[in-house]
């Protein structure tokens, strides 16, 4: 503490310990906030069309187009330690051989509490195709709205806010007229 340099040294050492303590306290405080918001998700229409895979022009594939309606009030998830919410709608189905598939068809990042009132009539943002190039072996799919709470400091938490009440079957592939 006898020179300016050693005072700066000492103060910064104590400072970094205090900052670590503060960050630990902030991340622990998140556990005090428990919220389990629920909403509704329904599929209004679903169609399957054949097309060509992007990479291989000769490979014929089935593409599904899903229109859905989702409403949810996710404002309880915003506390002081919430940086943003990552929301995604995913389709879960099984193939005939029992292989589970989960495909994310739509997502959104919500950064402010005001934007957390969700009311979306959307269609799949991302290409919805099956690994086996066809949906004929796919079981009826359950669509669910899931969220991921991203804090400023701390652990990521996940949850499910809405799910279709009945599984939605994939229709027969329609030929493009």
């Amino acid at each position: 503490m006898h020179t300016v340099y050693s005072r700066i040294n000492n103060v910064s050492a104590m400072l970094s310990t205090c900052i670590m303590g503060l960050l630990a306290a902030v991340s622990l405080s998140t556990f005090l906030f428990t919220a389990d918001p629920k909403g509704t998700l329904s599929v209004s229409s679903i169609q399957v069309f054949p097309g060509n895979a992007r990479r291989y022009a000769n490979k014929n594939q089935d593409f599904a187009f899903v229109n859905f309606n989702v409403t949810a009030d996710l404002t309880p998830l915003f506390n002081w330690n919430t940086k943003q919410l990552f929301l995604y709608v995913s389709a879960e189905y099984e193939s005939k051989r029992g292989v589970k598939n989960e495909v994310v068809i739509w997502d959104r990042i919500v950064r402010r509490k005001e934007d957390a009132q969700l009311s979306v009539a959307g269609r799949n943002k991302y290409v919805f195709r099956d690994m086996s190039a066809s949906f004929k072996n796919a079981s009826p799919a359950n669509y669910s709205l899931k969220y991921n709470v991203m804090p400023y400091v701390g652990v990521l938490t996940y949850g499910e806010a809405a799910k279709t009440t009945h599984p939605v079957a994939f229709p027969e592939r329609q030929e493009l007229s």
Binding site: M1, H2, T3, V4, R7, I8, N10, V11, M14, L15, C18, I19, G21, L22, A25, V26, S29, N79, W80, N81, Y152
Partner: protein
Amino acid sequence: MSAYLQKLVEGKIDFEGQKLVERIARDTLIAATVISFLAGFALQSIRVTFGLFALFVVALSIAVVPPWPAYNRHPVKWLPAVDTKAT
């Protein structure tokens, strides 16, 4: 000129001053941590927490880092020089 500059950059303070600086720094930092956490938690804004903490740190640096005269109030009393030639 260079001796003055050196003295300025070194910024020495006496032992009592060092004790005081240690106490001030430790108490202020612990208080700053607690106060800024509670204030941010109450107002539910993490910006308040870190903004308040930063203000505390800046104030502490100004109070503690420069060699203020208050830290030089108890200079070390050296004994008078002994004449080694006397036998």
